[in-house]
């Protein structure tokens, strides 16, 4: 029920698609990623709830309008699988800055694909330092 490396890999890929769509300012990819049948919800940082696909996608249309101003990075992703639902926790950071947001991303299988049904990002009290990259001699 909880261990399924193939499903986990597919969820991580869907999660990557979310951050890539955000960073690329790609509204079409973002729209494609969100569930079309299951009702969706979203909390942008410190903002009230967005309920339903129209409200959620409209917010992303506004956020992604024009050229992206920064790449949104995801790190330390942990996924929990419960049948056809996946709950993913991670941290988000802008560009090379330390992560400054805690995020919950929930995905479900819809039409054979993992699609996002919920996103909740909120501030961390202090940014998380990234592990130093390995030094190559």
């Amino acid at each position: 029920m909880f261990q399924d490396p193939q499903a986990e890999a597919a969820v991580f890929l869907a999660n990557e698609r979310f951050y890539r769509a955000f960073s690329d300012g790609d509204y079409s990819a973002m729209s494609e990623l969100w569930a079309q049948h299951v009702p969706v919800t979203c909390f942008h940082p410190t903002a009230p709830a967005l309920i339903g696909r129209e409200a959620v996608l409209q917010s992303f249309r506004q956020i992604l309008r024009g050229a992206p101003t920064f790449a949104l990075r995801c790190e330390d992703a942990v996924v929990t699988l419960v049948n056809d639902t996946a709950i993913l926790t991670c941290y988000e950071g802008a560009g090379d800055e330390p992560a400054h947001l805690a995020a919950t991303n929930v995905f479900v299988v819809e039409d054979g694909k993992w699609r996002m049904v919920h996103h909740h990002a909120g501030p961390l009290s202090r940014p998380l330092r990234r592990a130093a990259p390995p030094i190559v001699h």
Copy 2:
């Protein structure tokens, strides 16, 4: 798949149990509410992720230690059902104060009961005013 009034009512009850256990400082009820088989995760406001039942329950043991200092209120709960998983969004407020936190609570059916597998609470940029109570003449 998404409309099941009986399941929705059961999820709202499980959600109420979370806020009652918190407000009553009832660690035993809190422990009972969290899933025992499905891996659990938790983001307390502005804090890093807690991964696994031991870490999550230890945090609640500390939070609920001693007499509760305030009642945690939940309002505007919206639930999305996906088979045996429920994603609930709501706002949290202390006592009679306006809600100051956005919350995501995820539940799964385990041993025939709705149990919590994920909690994420984060600050709102400004507290939400509560609707004025009806005036009784």
